[in-house]
């Protein structure tokens, strides 16, 4: 746990980490709202996922597959009865596209793969980042735990964040790298010329990129535009003045976990723990307010070999085997245990009367309802955190009439980003009707 790690080494207060508007978050002041998408691949077993009763508080109880979330039930809402409404029908692709963008997929030349696609709109975390992330050091962050993701079927399956339909954002999967990005280079003494020199280098790189840009045709200029945007964002981060610490922001101890396989096996639970702690502290330090967290990839190429006895097939293979649904169930429970660990890390950091989790909206979902059927019906959706009071919690709500999953996305966009978000998605996935039932107003 971060708190323990933090206490173990005498930590400097993180003077470098000011929030960038220059306002320190003292007691009683407004804390920022954050958005986290926590994604797990290949769905659930709906009969063992759905809670039996609807309602709020004591009126509903966690289902079998949601048991690991017991300690966070008070900050959890289970949303049922929604359907993926985009017109594209391609198992896994349509589900993840609907949950990150609310819009259709676009088929790509598949080469040797069975199918490939990209999105047709950028992902909503990027829309939100424009509004709430513009001033933080990292406009948004992309994290990944399991490395067994499908890369051969285009960006839709491989990534959660897409700056544009053709510019997916690669995720950081090594906690040591993440730590270095977040917490090194910000503790320089004022006399260290490093950041000034980094800026000069970036200016030289920018000038050379502009020179190249001028020589290219339109399609390639768009590629260079992406590159120039990246340079400008990095330059801004380098230049940003250090800010005052909040009460809870500390530089955590440097991790040693690199997310390397051990004997060919992923160290999922350990990586998830370290990654969750680092992410929670990044939120507490206001280094970012928008995160996508790919716990496991769409389709489910990961293998949870440590569950049960004997070698297991990949999650994907298991879900297609009628006789292996028990193992699928165990996997969903395991994923929820890891999700609970992420929530615990966010909840462990106090912010005034609340916590980082209390000030966040967390969407936890998958790329299909059930891997066995590839269905987009009755989608598994969890919402955790209260978004600073904008979301209702401790609730099981079942929508009727196959309600659009995008209604949930719009509710979360408004809860975190405010009324500037009037709609989300496109085509069949378009929504202008936020799910008020999970909001407080």
């Amino acid at each position: 746990m971060l708190k323990g790690a933090g206490a173990a080494i005498a930590l400097p207060t993180l003077e470098a980490m000011l929030n960038s508007h220059g306002t320190a978050y003292a007691q009683g002041q407004q804390f920022p709202k954050r958005y986290l998408m926590w994604f797990f691949g290949n769905g659930v077993n709906l009969p063992r996922w759905r809670p039996s009763a609807q309602g709020q508080g004591a009126a509903w109880q966690l289902s079998e597959q949601l048991q690991p979330l017991a300690m966070h039930k008070d900050l959890l809402t289970v949303v049922g009865g929604c359907n993926v409404r985009i017109a594209s029908k391609r198992g896994h692709h349509d589900g993840v596209a609907a949950m990150v963008s609310g819009a259709e997929i676009f088929p790509l030349p598949a080469g040797n793969a069975p199918y490939a696609s990209r999105l047709t709109q950028r992902s909503i975390d990027q829309d939100l980042a424009d509004v709430i992330g513009a001033q933080t050091r990292f406009k948004s962050m992309q994290l990944r735990v399991s490395k067994r993701i499908v890369r051969g079927e285009g960006p839709t399956l491989a990534f959660l964040s897409h700056a544009s339909p053709t510019a997916p954002l690669e995720a950081t999967e090594n906690p040591v790298t993440l730590f270095n990005q977040l917490f090194t280079g910000v503790m320089n003494s004022p006399n260290d010329p490093r950041n000034t020199l980094r800026t000069s280098v970036l200016d030289a790189v920018r000038d050379e990129a502009r020179a190249l840009h001028g020589k290219l045709g339109a399609a390639d200029r768009a590629r260079l535009d992406q590159h120039l945007t990246g340079i400008a964002e990095l330059r801004q981060r380098v230049q940003q003045l250090p800010a005052a610490p909040t009460g809870a922001c500390r530089v955590p101890g440097a991790p040693t976990q690199t997310n390397a396989d051990v004997s060919g096996q992923e160290q999922i639970e350990a990586v998830n723990g370290v990654m969750s702690d680092l992410m929670a502290m990044a939120l507490a330090c206001d280094l970012t307010r928008v995160v996508t967290y790919q716990f496991s990839g769409s389709v489910g190429f990961h293998t949870f070999n440590w569950l049960g006895t004997g070698p297991r097939a990949s999650e994907h293979s298991l879900t297609h085997d009628q006789n292996e649904q028990g193992k699928v169930h165990d996997s969903v429970v395991f994923s929820m245990r890891c999700f609970a660990r992420t929530l615990t890390a966010m909840r462990a950091i106090t912010e005034g009367p609340s916590t980082v989790l209390g000030n966040s909206a967390v969407l936890c979902t998958s790329d299909v309802s059930e891997g066995f059927t590839h269905s987009g019906q009755d989608y598994p959706i969890l919402v955790a955190g209260a978004a600073g009071g904008a979301l209702r919690t401790n609730m099981h709500y079942r929508a009727t009439g196959g309600r659009n999953t995008s209604d949930v996305l719009l509710a979360l966009l408004q809860a975190v980003g405010g009324p500037t978000f009037t709609g989300v998605g496109a085509g069949g996935g378009r929504s202008t009707t936020p799910m008020r039932e999970i909001m407080t107003s």
Partner: protein, 559 residues
């Protein structure tokens, strides 16, 4: 530009059509410049007509983002192993089955920009961390921390290797200035060099291979300049930045003639890195990355075994392509194998105590399609997969497209039913009997049935689900090839003599060399490359040299 997976299919289909006098479906609206003519062939076979092609023009030149492997190798070659080990790369984008093509459409994202910066400083600190490294990148002894002349030497020598050309005066001034500012800020010449290296590794001049050439009056196309040609050759053949000899050749006119290009290509092909480059290309063609995530319930299949299976094929590719005297088609027929102690038992041959050793494999093994790496990769957990095995042959070895399964199809073969015993092949044939399945499955499954004599790990077998296996079939009936085969060896012999295979390999090598799909207007160039390759006996090196000396490789057009 046309996606040539389908174009090759059309080309193949039209060989038959041409005999009936039809024009190729690819023919442009304007009249084709070359009339069909008879082509001499040996053996008294009726001479096929030469197809018609649109007027030749080279394809569009687009900047390519350096691939992960190229990046690492370049850092290794210029800055050393410690620097290479300090940098991290992310997976490349695959397009049309090749990362070299994906590199032409990849964008550098903000995440990449951050990584490039991190890598730049990490690599610089690694090489400058010891005296050997410092001597490697600092060719002079600085008189003091801000020795401008020495900094200039660092900038010009490192810049030439990393930008793959001499730096312009402005560039030298810019980077020397950054080096001197840092040297002054830290009162350390070495820290100055650190910022130069870190900057070079972030520069678009390093990150992108921009081979735009200059307008060429004689042809009306863009002609790659000698340094661009050097980069193209070097990354294609040895997956790294040009070495000094190649840059020297570019500087002295050594790449201005076809003979000069040929000589450099032949030199590069003799470097050991050329073997890695060939292995990597065919590793992609055979989709061997899939082995690393393949799941088998058989405990004999471990990740270590999977790695060895993959390594065997990488040795095989380099052997067939680059060892003297080999005909590339031997890939499909050779019994030469490479085994270590992990996979030797699966082949039933003695294995070495350590490492890999070449062996002659048992009689049943003929070529790459009878090797563990292919057979296990293209199989289910416990069952074989004629569909996956056949699809690889159709798509990757014949360059023909197979449409994707309709989205509503549950593409699962029913499990065995002990009341009604069937082999996997029988269950597959029953499951896919409907016409809407056959449209695609007839393109794939007959190319996979020959391998039913090998189980899901690639071991020989005679029974499946207790019933005798059936590895017979007709070669490619929907393309009027009705020859019967029994088992893998028969099938491999048919494929060995099928011109579609060597045409597809020509196309694949061309794409790898240029980092793009061939343009419609390059149909003639590919046709001639294939014909020349045939005439020289299908030596891989001859194909490579023919590609790199072709106009399609040395010229381009721009948007």
């Amino acid at each position: 530009m046309r996606h040539l997976l389908s174009a090759t299919l059309l080309l193949t289909a039209c060989e038959g059509a041409l005999l009936g006098g039809a024009v190729t479906p690819e023919a442009p609206a304007e009249p084709a410049p070359v009339a069909p003519m008879a082509m001499p062939t040996g053996g008294g076979v009726a001479a096929p007509l030469e197809p018609t092609f649109p007027t030749f023009a080279p394809g569009v030149l687009r900047p390519r983002v350096m691939l992960g492997q190229w990046y690492r190798n370049t850092v290794r070659d210029v800055l050393g192993d410690a620097a290479m080990n300090a940098v991290s790369v992310t997976p490349d984008l695959t397009e049309g089955g090749l990362v070299t093509i994906g590199a032409s459409s990849k964008s550098v994202t903000p995440t990449d920009v951050t990584r490039f910066e991190d890598n730049g400083f990490l690599a610089a600190q690694a090489v400058l961390g010891d005296a050997t490294g410092r001597a490697r990148v600092i060719p002079c002894t600085p008189a003091n921390a801000t020795d401008s002349a020495c900094m200039q030497q660092v900038v010009t020598t490192l810049g030439r290797r990393l930008f793959r050309r001499p730096l312009s005066t402005d560039e030298v001034t810019r980077w020397r200035g950054i080096g001197l500012s840092a040297a002054q800020g830290y009162s350390s010449f070495t820290r100055g060099v650190e910022f130069v290296i870190a900057g070079f590794l972030q520069s678009p001049n390093f990150i992108y291979l921009d081979e735009r050439g200059a307008a060429d009056a004689a042809t009306g196309w863009q002609k790659l300049d000698p340094y661009e040609l050097a980069s193209r050759l070097s990354f294609f053949l040895v997956q790294s930045t040009p070495d000094d000899a190649l840059l020297d050749a570019a500087a002295t006119g050594g790449l201005s003639t076809v003979e000069g290009v040929r000589a450099q290509a032949e030199r590069l092909l003799r470097r050991t890195e050329a073997r890695d480059a060939v292995s990597s290309l065919f590793d992609e063609v055979f989709e061997l990355e899939g082995l690393m995530s393949a799941q088998k319930s058989d405990p004999a299949f471990t990740r270590e075994v999977a790695t060895s299976m993959r390594q065997e094929l990488r040795y095989l590719f380099a052997h067939v392509a680059l060892d003297p005297g080999n005909d590339f088609r031997d890939l499909l027929t050779t019994r030469m194998g490479f085994v270590d102690r992990r996979i030797a038992p699966l082949y039933g041959v003695p294995g070495p105590m350590s490492g890999f050793q070449p062996v002659e494999l048992p009689e049943a093994r003929a070529g790459v399609l009878t090797r563990l790496g292919y057979l296990a990769n293209k199989a289910h957990d416990a069952d074989t997969s004629p569909t996956h095995r056949g699809k690889l042959v159709r798509q990757r070895l014949l360059c023909m497209a197979v449409a994707m399964a309709p989205p509503d199809v549950v593409a699962v073969v029913p499990p065995p039913d002990q009341m009604n015993r069937r082999t996997f092949r029988q269950r597959l044939e029953e499951r896919t009997a409907e016409p809407r399945c056959q449209g695609c499955h007839q393109l794939m499954d007959p190319f996979g049935f020959p391998f039913e004599g090998f189980d899901s790990l690639g071991r020989p077998r005679t029974l499946d689900n207790g019933l005798p296996i059936d590895s017979t079939g007709a070669f490619d009936p929907i393309f009027s090839r009705h020859e019967r085969y029994t088992g893998a060896k028969d099938f491999a012999a048919l494929l060995h003599d099928d011109p579609r295979f060597t045409e597809c390999m020509t196309t694949t090598v061309f794409r790898q060399a240029t980092g793009r799909f061939e343009a419609e207007s390059e149909g003639r160039a590919l046709y001639e490359l294939h014909r020349a390759w045939k005439q020289t006996g299908y030596r891989y090196a001859d194909l490579v040299v023919a590609v790199v000396t072709s106009d399609a490789f040395r010229f381009g057009t721009v948007e």
